[in-house]
Structure formats: C-alpha cells, structure tokens
Symmetry: D2
Subunit: 307 residues, 4 copies
Amino acid sequence: MASNDAAKEELKGKSVPVLDHGQIALLDVMGSDEEIAEAARVSYRKGTKQVNDDRGLIRRLLRHRHTTPFEMAELKFYMKLPIFVERQCIRHRMASTNEVSARYSVLPEEYYIPEASAVCVQSKTNKQGREEEIDATSAAIYRQSTNDASHRAFEVYNSNLRNDVSREIARIPLPLGTYTEKYWKIDLHNLMHFLGLRMDAHAQWEIRQYANIMGSMVAKLFPITWQAFEDFRLNAMSLSALDIKQINRLPGGKIAQVDLEKYLLSEWCNAPKNSERAEFIVKAIRLGLVEPSHALPAHEAHTSTSK
Amino acid sequence: MASNDAAKEELKGKSVPVLDHGQIALLDVMGSDEEIAEAARVSYRKGTKQVNDDRGLIRRLLRHRHTTPFEMAELKFYMKLPIFVERQCIRHRMASTNEVSARYSVLPEEYYIPEASAVCVQSKTNKQGREEEIDATSAAIYRQSTNDASHRAFEVYNSNLRNDVSREIARIPLPLGTYTEKYWKIDLHNLMHFLGLRMDAHAQWEIRQYANIMGSMVAKLFPITWQAFEDFRLNAMSLSALDIKQINRLPGGKIAQVDLEKYLLSEWCNAPKNSERAEFIVKAIRLGLVEPSHALPAHEAHTSTSK
Amino acid sequence: MASNDAAKEELKGKSVPVLDHGQIALLDVMGSDEEIAEAARVSYRKGTKQVNDDRGLIRRLLRHRHTTPFEMAELKFYMKLPIFVERQCIRHRMASTNEVSARYSVLPEEYYIPEASAVCVQSKTNKQGREEEIDATSAAIYRQSTNDASHRAFEVYNSNLRNDVSREIARIPLPLGTYTEKYWKIDLHNLMHFLGLRMDAHAQWEIRQYANIMGSMVAKLFPITWQAFEDFRLNAMSLSALDIKQINRLPGGKIAQVDLEKYLLSEWCNAPKNSERAEFIVKAIRLGLVEPSHALPAHEAHTSTSK
Amino acid sequence: MASNDAAKEELKGKSVPVLDHGQIALLDVMGSDEEIAEAARVSYRKGTKQVNDDRGLIRRLLRHRHTTPFEMAELKFYMKLPIFVERQCIRHRMASTNEVSARYSVLPEEYYIPEASAVCVQSKTNKQGREEEIDATSAAIYRQSTNDASHRAFEVYNSNLRNDVSREIARIPLPLGTYTEKYWKIDLHNLMHFLGLRMDAHAQWEIRQYANIMGSMVAKLFPITWQAFEDFRLNAMSLSALDIKQINRLPGGKIAQVDLEKYLLSEWCNAPKNSERAEFIVKAIRLGLVEPSHALPAHEAHTSTSK
Ligand SMILES: Cc1cc2nc3c(=O)[nH]c(=O)nc-3n(C[C@H](O)[C@H](O)[C@H](O)COP(=O)(O)OP(=O)(O)OC[C@H]3O[C@@H](n4cnc5c(N)ncnc54)[C@H](O)[C@@H]3O)c2cc1C
Ligand SMILES: Cc1cc2nc3c(=O)[nH]c(=O)nc-3n(C[C@H](O)[C@H](O)[C@H](O)COP(=O)(O)OP(=O)(O)OC[C@H]3O[C@@H](n4cnc5c(N)ncnc54)[C@H](O)[C@@H]3O)c2cc1C
Ligand SMILES: Cc1cc2nc3c(=O)[nH]c(=O)nc-3n(C[C@H](O)[C@H](O)[C@H](O)COP(=O)(O)OP(=O)(O)OC[C@H]3O[C@@H](n4cnc5c(N)ncnc54)[C@H](O)[C@@H]3O)c2cc1C
Ligand SMILES: Cc1cc2nc3c(=O)[nH]c(=O)nc-3n(C[C@H](O)[C@H](O)[C@H](O)COP(=O)(O)OP(=O)(O)OC[C@H]3O[C@@H](n4cnc5c(N)ncnc54)[C@H](O)[C@@H]3O)c2cc1C
C-alpha cells in the first residue's frame, strides 16, 4: 500500500479535455514519494548517523541535484494534441513515445482553432511570444481564415484518399494544427525538467495547457516532491555571479529604482538595453531590495529570466 | 593526418539538393576508421596476443555488437526538409537538434510537392506504404490540389502576420509539407542505426532520399566501417529460431516453392497468411534453398522482413 | 486487471540469492504484454484493415525493430552484486541507478569468492573469457589467496575507519569483489538489449547469473514478448552478406565439412584463420547444411558469433 | 578557421599528469564558441529583428536553459584514473566510453595512494566528505597499510595469472585504487553538467582533480561559453521560494547574524538544525545582507548548498 494509492485510483484512466479537441489521461504510475526516498536511502547504509524523514530527504535531493532517485518514479500518459504542440513535446528525448502513424492510419478531420482570447499580437519585447489579445475583428478573421484553410486541406486529403493516393503522401497538405494522438511515458525527474520548461511563462500557451494538467496530477501523486519542485525550481530564482556582486554593492534598505543607476556595476552602467541588467532589476524588485518605478521599463524583462 | 582528410575536405560545407527545395550538407566530422579502431584497442592492452588490423577489428566490433567505439566518431549536418520528414527524423533521440523556430522566425513560402513519379497508390500488402505509381491524371490532380491548399495556407499565414497575429499562432494552418531547417549532430553508431531503419525499403521514400545521401557520405568518410555495415546490417539476414528449425527440415538441394508445403513446420502448415512463414519463404529464396514459383504469392512478403 | 497480475504478485519483493552473498529482487513492474500491444495499436487507428491479435503484433514489432512499444513496460530491481559485476551493469546507460555510497556509508565485510567450479583457465581461443575448470589444487590456491587478500583489505579498511580516516579514502584498498547494493530501473526494450548481451555465452559467468534470473522473471511477467525475444534474438542467427553468398554457392544437400573447402568464397579460401569463415562454418552446421567433422577445428568459433 | 584553432593545437594530444599515476589528455574537439552561436542562430531566420553578437547570445542561451546548441560541441579525452574515480565518472550516462577490459588484458601494478595531505578525517557535518587533514602519523599508517594491501593484492593477481587462472577471475582481489584507462567522449552541454557536479566542493577531491583540468581546457577552447558557465552556474546562487520570502522579511541594511532570529520565517524559527535555514544564512552572508557572527555555526552549511 503506497500513500498515493487513492490519488492513483482517482486519476488513472480519466480523460481531461484540453484545448478544443485535445485530451490528456494518466494511464499508469510507478512509485510514490516514499519509494523515491527509499531508493535514495540505499545510499546511506550503515555508518550514517540517522534516518532522515522523507520530506527532508526529498527536499535535499532536489536542492542538491541528486536527481536519480526521481528517475525511479514513472508516469504514462495518453495525449491528444495538435501536431505543432507535439513537435515541442517530442524535443524532450528522455521519454518514450508511440504515436498514431499517418502512414498506416486515416486521420479524422480534427484540427485546432484557438479561442479568440488566445489569438494575440506578436510580442515586441519577447521575440518568440505573443502579447496582449488582438482586437476582436482581427481575431475573428484569423479564426475564420485558419479554419477555412484547414478544412480545405482536409478536403484535399480526403479526395486524395478517395483517389487511392497512399496515405503517407495524401497527408502532406494537412495543417500543423491537425490533432495527433500518442502514448507518452517519462520518469519523474525528466517530467519535472519538462514541466520546468513548459509551464514557464515563455513556453507557448498551448503546450502550457498540457503541462499544467500534468503538473496538477504530479501534485496529487507526489505531493512532497511537488512542493520541493515548486520551492526549488518553479518559484526559485537564480542569481548570477554579477547579480551577487551587484547586490553586495547596494547601499542596504529598499532603494528606489530611479536611484539604482548610481550603484550599478560598471559593465551595466551605460548599457540600458543590457538584458542581464534588466533581468537583475526584475529580480531585485522581487526580492524587495528595489522599489519599482512604473515610469521605468526595466521590469519588462522576461519573467522567465527572473528565475 | 587522418586517412579521411581528403574526403572531409571534399564533403564539408557542400550542399546537396534533396527533393524539390531540400538540402543536406555535412558541416563537420570527428574521427575516422583508424580512430574508431584506436578507441577499441584501449580494451586490449598488455596480455593480448597480437594487434589486430583495423579492418578485421572494425568488422568484428560491428559483428559482435561491441558498438561503443563507433560512438567515438561524430557527424554534424545541416538539413532543409519538409516538416513531415523532420517528424520522422526527430524520433531518433540519440542526436542533437537545433531547428528554426516558427515562434521567432517568419517561414518563407516553401513547401514540398512530390514529383508525379513519387505519387503512388496505397499499398495493399504493406499497410504503411505506397506501391506502384498512380496514373498520370490522378497524380496531376494530387499535385495541383496539394499545391493549391498549401499555397492558400501560406496566404492565410502571411495575412495573419500582416494583421500582427503572433507568429506562433499564425503558423497553425501551414501544411506538413512546409520546409524547415535544422542542424543535426549524431554519432556514427546511432547514425548507422538511423540509416539501417531509414534506408530500408519500408521507410517513407522522402526520408530515404536524405538517408541515402548521408549513407554515401559515410561510405567516403569511413570506408571500412561502411563496408562492415553493408555486410553485417544492410545486406544481412536474420534467421529466427523457427527459420533455423525450418531450414533443418528441408530435404537438401534446391526445392521448388510448390513442394515446400510438405516440409513446413507444423505451426506454419495450414496458415498460408502467417507472416513469419511468408517471410521465411522470401529468405529461403534469397539463400538459394527454394526455387521461387511465380504463381505463388509468398515472396510478396516485405523485403525488410527478409533480413 | 492485467493478465500478469498473478505473476507480479508472485515475484514482487521476493529476494533471489545469486553467487555467494548476492541477491536480486523485483521491486516493481509497469505494464504487461497486452499493454505493450495497446501502445503499439495507437499507431493503427482508422483505415487499418483489422485489429491484430497481441501475439502476432508483438512478434512483428520485435522482428521489424519497432521497439518503442517495449519501452512502455518498466521493471525496478534491487540488486546486491560484486563491484566488478556492477561495473559491467552500469555500462548500460539506458537505466536508472541508485547505489550505496561508500562515501556516506560503511561497507560490511562481504566479498565474492568464486566456487571452485567457477575458477577456470584463461581461454586460448577467446581472449576475453575462461574455458574449462582449472585443476582442484590451483582452484583451492586461488580461493585461499583471493580470500586472504580480500580479508586483509577489509582489515585495513576497518582500521582506517577506526583512525577516523574519511570513508571515501578508507575504501581505496577494498577489492573489486566487494559487494555493493543498488536499485536499478530499466524499460523492457533496454532490458532485452541488456539480456541479449549479458545472457550470451561470451558475457562473464557472474553477470550471466544475474541476467538469467532477470530473464526468468521477464518470461513470467511478459510471456509473449519473452517468446518473441527467444525466437528473434536469443536463438536467432544473423547471416552476413558474405554468408548469404556462401550459402548460395553450396552444392545443395548436406555436405561434409572436409568438402566445404572447394565451395568456399575466394576471400575465405586460403584464410583458415579468418574468423568470419570460422563463424560461417558454425552457422552452416547449425543450419544442417554442413556435416561437422570432429577432426576439424572450425566449430571452435565463438558461439556468440554463430548468431 | 575557427577562433580556437590555436588553443586546439596547443592542447591536443598533450598528456597532463593527475594524482600519482593518472593522466588526462584532450584527443579531439569539434566546435567553437562561434559554431555554438551559429547553430543557435538557425532558430532566428527571417523576421527576427537583429543578429545578436556571439557573447550576448551564448550568455542568453545558458541563462535561459536553451541548452541544445552546446550539444553541438564535442570533446574526446584519454583518461588514466583509479577505478573508484571511474565509477563516479561512468555515472554520467550522456557520454561515450571505451575502457580497458580486465577480461582481455593484464593490468600492470599501478594503484593510487593519496598524498598525506589528501588523507583527511571523516567530516562531522557533511556525511559524505572529508574534512581537515589527519595527523601525520595516522596519514603515514594509512598510506603504508593501504599500499601493503594493494601490493599484496597485485601479488595474488599475478600469481593467479601465472597459474593460468582466467584474467576476469584473477582480478577479483585487485583494489578499487587500481588505475584503469579509458577514452571518453562527451558534448559540451553534458560536460558542463559534469563539471558543475564534479568541480563542486562536495565532489570527492580525486575526481575534482580531473574535472579541474578539463575545466581549464574548456576555458581555453570555449572562452565565452566558459565565462557564461562561471557566471550562471559555477558562481551562481539559487534562492528557493522560502529564501525569497525570507529576504523580503529582512529589515534592510546589513543585519548582524545574532539579530537574524527575529526576522526568521516561522517555519525556520525554532528549528536551529534545519538545513534550509542554515543554507539560507550562508547565502545571505554571501549576498552581504547578513554580517556573519563567528560564534555562530550557521555558516557551516555545505558550500554547495550556498548556490
Ligand atoms: C523557451 C524555449 C525555447 C526554445 N527554442 C528553441 C529553438 O528555437 N530551436 C530549437 O531547436 N529548440 C528550441 N528549444 C528546445 C530546446 O533546445 C530543447 O530541445 C528542449 O527544451 C528539450 O530540453 P532537453 O534537451 O533538456 O530535454 P531532453 O531531450 O529530455 O533531455 C534531458 C537531458 O538529457 C540529456 N540528453 C538527452 N538526450 C541527449 C542526447 N541525444 N545527447 C546529449 N544529451 C542528451 C541532456 O543532458 C538533456 O539536458 C526551446 C526550448 C524552450 C523551453
Ligand atoms: C518502419 C518504421 C515504422 C515505424 N512506425 C511507427 C509508428 O507507427 N508509431 C511510432 O510512434 N513510431 C514508429 N516508428 C518509430 C520507432 O518506434 C522509433 O521511434 C524510431 O525508429 C527511432 O528508433 P530508436 O528509438 O531506436 O532510436 P533512438 O531514439 O535514436 O534511440 C536509440 C536507442 O537508444 C535508446 N534510447 C534512446 N532514448 C531512450 C529513452 N528516452 N528511453 C529509453 N531508451 C532510449 C534505445 O535503446 C534506443 O533503441 C517507426 C519506425 C520505423 C523504422
Ligand atoms: C561481450 C562484451 C564485451 C565488451 N567489451 C568491452 C570492452 O572491452 N571495453 C569497453 O569499454 N566496453 C566493452 N563492452 C561494453 C559495451 O561497449 C557497451 O558499453 C555495453 O554493452 C552497453 O551497451 P549499449 O551501449 O548498447 O547499452 P546502453 O548504454 O544501455 O545504450 C543502449 C543504446 O542507447 C544509445 N545510447 C545510450 N546512451 C548513449 C550515449 N550517451 N550516446 C550515444 N548513444 C547512447 C545507443 O544507441 C545504445 O546502443 C563489452 C560488452 C560486451 C557485451
Ligand atoms: C555530490 C553527489 C553525490 C551523489 N551521491 C550518490 C549516491 O549516494 N548514490 C548514487 O547512486 N548516486 C549518487 N550520485 C550520482 C548522481 O545520482 C548521478 O548519477 C550523477 O550525478 C550523474 O548525473 P546525471 O544523471 O544528471 O548525468 P547523466 O547520466 O549524464 O545524465 C544527464 C541527464 O540526462 C538524462 N538521462 C540520461 N540518461 C538517462 C536515463 N537512462 N534515464 C533517464 N534520464 C536520463 C537526465 O535528464 C540526466 O539528468 C551523486 C552525485 C553527486 C554529484
């Protein structure tokens, strides 16, 4: 009897809807917080002073990058997701995948069209992302034309198939929004690495919807590990050697952002567009060392960089 | 001075065209046949009878699955390829990839349209493949309608971008035939594993075009290894325990396929559609043990299965 | 309810003794034959003619190197094993390990001394192995002196510890036969790769003892996969391109080994020590194509090479 | 012509001594800072505002965990190292290894005996490490007895070999300090991961000697990447969610360690042995937020945890 038997029972095999036609379901789990701790304890046989409690041990493992015990837990998912999201997911090589083959199988007409609220303008500061929502008319045009093109592509696909064109060739015009399905198995260490990158504000919104659901499942299945992951990864902050030097130069006491200039490291002093400097200011504000000035743009730096 | 310096000089940086708009170029290489042998020889220090010649050693390593010396050689490629081909390539996890990001970058209107000769009918026997060429009219229809749908998708994409829709969302209607670009680095052991699967007659024709070019580059850069790879993998044949039992039951002398029936293993006897039996017949013919009968369908079995 | 629930119940947590102080126990399993087949079937959605039965499907996956569905099953073991065996085991990188740390922990005085029957002479033909048992006196000397040196090393170790020397330094004289402990988790595809290499007659006898026990567990937990593994890997034979050419040159009918000479490929004709030629003869005998001549040494070729 | 051609020339093939009989030599390198940047730039084709300079780009890649471009560089080493160090090295699975086989080869009598200055007492606070040097007499005893036991083991080994015991069995009594040799190839991303863990003050002193030499080679070969690695990894500091909350609670201005107590988070308040609290104090001192009190033990926390 593992402590997470009830959570397993609750989650296994239940399909959770994602996006317009997507799904995610937990198919199987190996392990629990105590089994992670147990695997780690093989390291400490005789001669070690005291047995650690699971919580303290798991937190220390994650903090000190002793990551192999988290590989001892494994999760298997079923996912239905648009191809452009799958292309981001498959980049995580430390996982096992079985995907529907469009060489063997006929794909049904199912493609992703973002909700109007998810259609955003190209970000000015962050070259890879989207920013505020686009106006309603543009969103409607986007949705209509994307839908038309996708539907038209499926008409061509189906007509290709009727003409007995091989499936592998017939599918070439299909859109990147086409839904695909896969089984995906990954260990907990690598899943946390995935979630750290894909729940991040800089990951594409669509993959974040999948990552968030997986994250909430992990939180139920491995509550101690999840708390440690939140404390030491998701909500942690990394200070560079320069950041540390810079904090040591601050006068002490919360200073106003406008006054920061006089204490800046020489390498940042006359470089207002330096991204490391901008990221530092976001961090210093988050640490309560600097009082943000709303007239100043520095806190526009990517939030992911504030970690 | 490595023995393959001239081949490196000849190949490095030269772009080879593939498909209608694709390319492949060797960017860098580490290693040579002698360096593979040298790494293997670290295993045999003092106490071993004699130093092997490189050719004999490399052939033995490959034959006996001592594969780590081949990991000591590394190749880096630039590839421009349709997204549906990239999706097959990326499944090979033991490689490093940097791909153009359609979140950061605007994709030019370049998509793959197969030549008429590459548009084939769906295979009847092999669920995942294509078979003989389709008739000229159907091919022309295929090419025209696929082109129209792809072009239409790019019009929508470009109009999305003009409306300031974020790139990551704008690209959703783009076709699976859209060209992408990547840097791809892989060691020689894993490249041979890739080539073994992707030069195979059962791999999709399009990825085979890329694999064949890579293969010809490896043949120039690592001639001894390549010869061994051809002899022990590409042109080798695997006999199952049942195949071995079956060969032992044959009367000796080349027998006619029609007469084979009487010598068949009991598990294959009354199972004319059994795929292991069909694959056995293909192998026996290739070994010269059975004289094929053209009236009989057995040698329709997949050629890949004859290995 | 998976079909292998009873086998899991029977095996889980039971420790099996290995060598003089070793152990192996299955701690956890994810998956079953049907779940492997189910993951593979995600590939074949609509449009595929018929649902395959599990047995046929699993055999085809293994035969045609479609290996990812076997990655969907996972096994977790506890192992107690001599360090020199662990050093062979850890070479299999596609697995997760947590091992007792001799930096944190005090190692008990437990080291491996081979049974007299396992002490063999250095092989003449196979540079890496042992051959027939050594004579009783030499074996007794071996056992006594190895035991003395190992025991003496532990005395030094324990006296180091009493002198408060750090554990990580104190352990330096300990013998390679010292037992260590680990948790080891691996997926079924990579476990079969491990077993293919480590149940082989050329693997060191000691690691084979561990591999054989794991193999017998897999046979109970995944009976269909195991049967396929035996038929297509363990008991299969690989014929090289040269072997195939050679078989085609044979006259037909079982020929005597003495007569083989006249039919040999030119590259093998005057090369009696050529190992590919020697391995061919072993294979031809196993196929029933050649009648072995006990006067002739050819069948001395490594058995592993007869595959 | 890559910018690091001179550094390659200088380093390649030169053997550097390590420990008493060890060696390390760089055998080959693929890549340079500019080639890493070039691979990353494939991501940013048309549509991206401006080309980044290499330094800014490389620093951003490392900071934002976009690690695949660093996989495009590869290093191949020859290493001669004690077996207990090799056992730590081999745990890094994302590397390729060819090691001398003690099944094939006779090992010469070469084993590691630490210098007196490297023989330390078992750490009290850090269960896995050593602390201050041991007294001269104990060190001498350690060295003498370890040497005796190791030499005795080699005598047994050599006598085993003379008795024709197979090498794989003869080597069982050999000490963990025995030198082994290997070829080791790894990409720059995974090498930095290795160096981050093995140059750390908590890694065993012996492996740090190897890691430090590799680090100094990387610094010459990839100077921009190395600087970024120092700034964002080696000399960086990670603040947990609790650390951030705690810093926000500090009154501002450098406070004395004795006064810290009143501002502590409730979870740390009455837990003087809580390791997260102890690690926080070390970090706060390093940031110049807390004035250390030498009477107080808090800064005894592991230095590795101060990151
Ligand atoms: C915000 C963001 C932007 C990105 N932009 C781009 C982009 O523009 N272009 C692009 O191509 N990619 C981009 N990526 C993808 C990124 O480079 C990685 O492919 C992805 O994040 C997966 O990370 P990983 O390699 O650490 O994971 P995994 O592949 O799961 O690997 C985990 C770890 O295992 C090791 N590893 C696994 N396989 C190998 C192997 N074959 N060789 C060596 N080590 C291995 C490495 O240590 C690796 O860190 C982006 C990612 C993010 C999060
Ligand atoms: C003809 C054909 C048909 C196919 N049909 C389908 C299909 O319908 N659906 C589908 O999804 N795929 C299909 N595949 C893809 C196939 O399952 C593999 O993904 C692909 O062939 C890559 O092989 P690989 O995994 O051995 O290569 P790599 O990923 O390069 O791995 C090489 C080896 O490294 C090890 N390895 C690497 N990464 C991991 C990891 N994370 N965990 C465990 N071991 C690892 C394994 O031992 C593996 O064999 C097909 C492939 C072929 C050739
Ligand atoms: C009889 C025998 C003799 C041997 N003799 C020697 C010897 O003298 N010296 C010696 O050093 N070794 C020797 N080996 C060990 C051998 O080279 C392998 O290390 C071992 O068999 C593990 O195999 P593997 O690498 O395929 O397994 P895994 O490490 O589990 O890898 C499985 C597959 O995953 C992929 N893979 C995993 N990790 C990586 C990575 N980091 N980079 C690239 N691909 C990866 C590869 O495709 C690999 O085939 C011997 C092995 C055998 C069986
Ligand atoms: C100070 C310290 C103390 C340690 N103490 C112990 C101990 O007591 N006991 C012990 O057993 N180990 C211990 N270790 C070893 C540790 O657990 C790791 O094995 C080692 O640090 C290698 O790290 P890695 O796994 O990240 O590296 P690599 O194996 O090189 O892997 C790099 C990354 O690739 C991915 N990866 C590679 N292969 C696989 C795979 N097969 N499956 C899943 N993901 C994979 C992972 O994302 C991994 O993080 C200790 C290490 C350190 C630094």
